[in-house]
């Protein structure tokens, strides 16, 4: 991420240096302005959805949903704790309903729950990111609305291919994360095997050498 950001920024500002140097700072400040506006909007949305989640939690509905989806979540996120599972369930439910802004605070909390202090993302964290990023969205409401305002004859015409695309991308994402996880684990095991073998062989060699010497 930091590399992508760096290249993007360096490239853009260097390009503007040749075409329109006065625009560089204006554009960057315009982007910062947009960030502040979005932050205020998001603070309201997060406050609202976190409040709603507060009710879900107090009434025990969150626990109920989390128990309902337990097999799925356990398969996708092995070794996740109780609280983390609840947040992940809420995140997935919000994603399915197309409520991206409701799913974000849940994901942040879930990742905080999975945090072990390591600077490297664990497989569960990567799984959550990939599932959200491939957005298993059943109703892309934004696009339907936009198509209608642009005078489409059938605004929901793209739903079938869009659903196939999003289901497929989510399946590919989950499979790849699981496969790569398996690959890493195998490599780790191999390394340990080698260590064990070496540890076993060392004293044997010593013994052999010793016996030869005694002959």
């Amino acid at each position: 991420m930091s590399k992508v950001w760096y290249i993007m920024l360096l490239g853009s500002v260097s390009a503007l240096l040749f075409t329109n140097p006065g625009q560089a700072v204006t554009a960057m400040i315009a982007g910062s302005h947009a960030a502040v506006k979005l932050a205020i909007e998001l603070a309201a949305l997060y406050g609202f959805w976190l409040g709603f989640f507060g009710i879900l939690e107090k009434t025990g509905i969150a626990d109920f949903l989390s128990r309902l989806l337990r097999p799925v979540v356990k398969f996708l996120f092995p070794g996740i704790n109780e609280t983390g599972r609840k947040y992940v369930t809420m995140n997935m439910a919000a994603n399915l309903l197309g409520l991206g802004n409701a799913s974000t605070p849940m994901a942040i909390k879930a990742i905080k729950e999975m945090d072990t202090g390591s600077t490297r993302a664990s497989q569960n964290m990567i799984m959550l990111t990939v599932i959200s990023a491939t957005s298993l969205q059943l109703l892309p409401t934004t696009v339907i609305g936009l198509r209608a305002t642009h005078g489409s004859a059938s605004p929901a015409d793209f739903l079938l291919p869009a659903t196939v695309a999003t289901v497929l991308s989510t399946i590919i994402g989950i499979t790849l994360v699981k496969l790569i996880g398996l690959l890493f684990r195998k490599r780790g095991e191999n390394r340990e095997h080698k260590k064990e073998k070496a540890a076993l062989q060392a004293p044997c060699r010593g013994l052999l050498r010793g016996s030869r010497r005694s002959q």
Binding site: I55, T141, F158, L168
Partner: protein, 168 residues
């Protein structure tokens, strides 16, 4: 149909709270308490990304870059007119909406290109934004293979979606 689902969930939850004799008011307040501190954590990441994305768009670099990769897109069955949309989509939701509207007014909503653009927007997410914001409250600095896998899966989905549209 969609308009009714969320309010319906809301009413159900409020009724359940009343049946279980829980105070919804204090539960809501307690829940939303963390929103501002959450935002304070997210904000620096938000600003850092959006600042760079804005220059990226305004400098015309995104336009030239999409021109450069459009033959590759064409090869995979995605109309070359939609390269900029594919490029901006993982970076910024608002930016991608702007491009989507431009595509609609230039090529028509119900044209093949217009429908392809709808599939691409509707079946993808702001991958870079998500992966930065999600980790804003953790110690994690290295995301491993998260972004490449997410981008690859999204691309595969978009290619399939556009292929289905072609035969539809």
């Amino acid at each position: 149909m969609t308009e009714i689902i969320i309010p319906l969930i809301f009413v159900t939850v409020l009724v359940i709270a009343a049946i279980r004799k829980k105070d919804s008011y204090s539960a809501f307040t307690e829940g939303s308490r963390g929103a501002l501190s959450l935002m304070a954590n997210v904000f620096p990441y938000l600003l850092t990304i959006m600042m760079a994305v804005e220059v990226f768009k305004q400098s015309g670099l995104s336009f030239y870059l999409s021109k450069a990769v459009s033959p590759v897109m064409n090869l995979m069955g995605i109309p070359s007119e939609l390269t900029e949309l594919m490029l901006v989509r993982p970076l910024s939701g608002a930016g991608a909406i702007g491009i989507l509207e431009k595509v609609y007014s230039t090529y028509g909503v119900d044209s093949y290109i217009g429908r392809c653009a709808s599939v691409i927007y509707g079946s993808s997410e702001t991958v870079f934004y998500i992966s930065t914001i999600y980790f804003s409250q953790s110690n994690v600095k290295k995301l491993g293979y998260a972004i490449p896998v997410a981008l690859f899966a999204t691309l595969a989905g978009c290619i399939t979606g556009c292929a289905i549209l072609r035969v539809m």
